[in-house]
Amino acid sequence: MSELVNGESVHKGELTHYLKYTWKKKLILGVLVILTGMLALYAISAGSAELSPWQVVLTLLGQTDGHAEIIIWSIRLPRVLASMVAGVGLAVAGAVMQTILRNPLASPSTLGIAQGAAFGAALAIIGWGAGSSSSTSGGELLINNPYIVTITAFVAAMLTTMIIIFLAQYKGVSPESMVLAGVALGSLFSASTMLLQYFTNDVNVAAVVFWTFGDIGRASWGELGIMTCIVLVALIFFLFNRWNYNALDSGAETAKGLGVNVEKTRQWGMFFASLITATVVSFLGIIAFIGLVAPHLVKRIIGGDNRFLIPASGVMGALLLLAADTLSRRIIAPIVLPVGAITSFLGAPLFLYLLIRGAKLR
């Protein structure tokens, strides 16, 4: 660091404290990335056909062929990548929603977006017969037109978002109250789904219920590609806005004073966060708690600076969802539990622990 900048002498020692502190955050981010990578390697190698991590590495480098190659490239790799991409997406969406709505409760599952998607899926399966197959042999077979279900779920989820943004923009609902509006919309959609289920046959009900269980296994390479593109675009958008989000953390008026176009930042932030949520939920079903827990966990460790919070939340989300999915595959193998249940099951106690620790720290 130079001794004279802008005519003011710099106390070297003090500034290094800050640089060290920043380095520490980068280090934690790096450790998280490495942990996720190691877990990914384990997740690819573990399964009914056991492979060694070394075999996995060789296969990924194109050094082997035959049996292992097929298992890895067509089954395990898309699943592991999908859980990582979805984890990044949900966590980053949660982190940004919490900042722009100034509400620690904001997350994809508390804003009614997931319930909106579930209603859309139910409408497609029950209303439009996209799932009225007579087969009962397996869950996947209950839905015979997955594209219509996915598209309807996506449209319904985005519609929910548009209603929330509209309420905030034109009806003067404060950002702080938007979570309340989301809860109201969520219960409206849940009730609608329930009514649809009440008036249909048991096969359709089973199909809807099965759809709402989050399941990473639904993603193939095509879906993974779409999901990755959307998450990537949104992530870049969020990173471009990281200083704006930091300013918003200090209150809307302060942010305006710092040159932030608060309304635009909120609208676009909500749009991209919801786009991620709608995409992930309509492809994979409802995966609760990742969007809420990952950012809070990261905030406890490295603080709320969005320059680090956004990327670290993303990695944390990938790590958590990958861990949950691996657990769901391994815990009573060969049966695969719905990952949405695992995330809630582990997420809720973790969240309570965070709250209690937070209260103690004060």
Binding site: M1, S2, E8, H11, H17, S250, K256, G257, G303, D305
Partner: protein
């Protein structure tokens, strides 16, 4: 003239908050906006920074109409410290670094960090640099938001009750820091003040608002017992003690 305000009018629905308000400030001047609660002081400050849009009138910042400038263009010249500020999980250093936001393109430079560092030293916040805002006292937090505004390196500094949360020692320190910065860097300071005696001590110019209108504006000569008594609706005497003007309510 860095800021020239002319015929500002502002309404919330049918309720008039500001009527035909006009004044001007030069670089290096400290202007105090005074008046009772509800006289329109905070609203006036917000219209100056385009946080609220006036219905009528013009605000010229260095010759340019503020209402036609973008937020970033305004932020490069004018800093605003709100009356209510919120604490969050940011360190003091990061919170003050945020003041560099209008100047930062992609990431803060070494010069930005050095500037923040110097300001932390000046405002006595150095030992708190890596503390989280939600672990600070109200007074420390108030110093942080003022430090942030100084880091913005504005030409005009707008402060809404900058000393409301501070004890006597910190009131003097903070206002002295602001005064010094104003003189050294030639910043125009416009502050909504509640404490008449602090205003008399630190400002060069005064704007007395009464019930949406300017009651009196000018230098020390407008701060007469009659003017203050009428603007505030309380009888007062103004005396000189140890070469310092003091207002005492009767």
């Amino acid at each position: 003239m860095i800021l020239a305000v002319n015929g500002i009018e502002f309404r919330y629905g049918s309720r008039t908050i500001l009527e035909m308000v006009g004044f001007s400030v030069r670089r290096g001047e400290f202007l105090s906006i005074l008046g009772n609660n509800g006289a329109g002081k905070s609203t006036l400050l917000k219209t100056l920074n385009k946080i609220l849009l006036p219905k009528k009138g013009s605000i010229l910042l260095d010759g340019q109409e503020v209402t036609k400038l973008g937020r970033l263009a305004i932020a490069l010249k004018m800093a605003y410290v709100a009356q209510n500020f919120e604490s969050c999980r940011q360190t003091v250093f990061d919170a003050v670094l945020l003041g560099r936001k209008p100047h930062i393109k992609w990431e803060a430079t070494a010069a930005d960090l050095a500037l923040v560092h110097g300001i932390l030293a000046k405002t006595g916040l150095r030992k708190f640099a890596l503390r989280y805002l939600d672990e600070l006292s109200g007074g420390e937090l108030q110093k942080v938001v003022i430090a942030r505004a100084l880091a913005q390196e504005p030409e005009v500094l707008l402060l809404d009750e900058p000393t409301s949360n501070l004890d006597l020692k910190n009131q003097m320190e903070v206002l002295k820091t602001i005064q010094t910065a104003a003189k050294e860097k030639n910043i125009a300071v416009i502050a909504v003040m509640h404490d008449l005696n602090l205003a008399l001590r630190f400002s060069d110019k005064f704007l007395l608002l009464q019930d949406t209108k300017v009651f009196a504006a000018g230098g020390l000569e407008v701060m007469t017992a009659e003017n203050i008594a009428q603007a505030y609706g309380v009888p007062v005497t103004v005396e000189r003690i140890q070469n310092q003007m003091v207002v005492i309510p009767k």
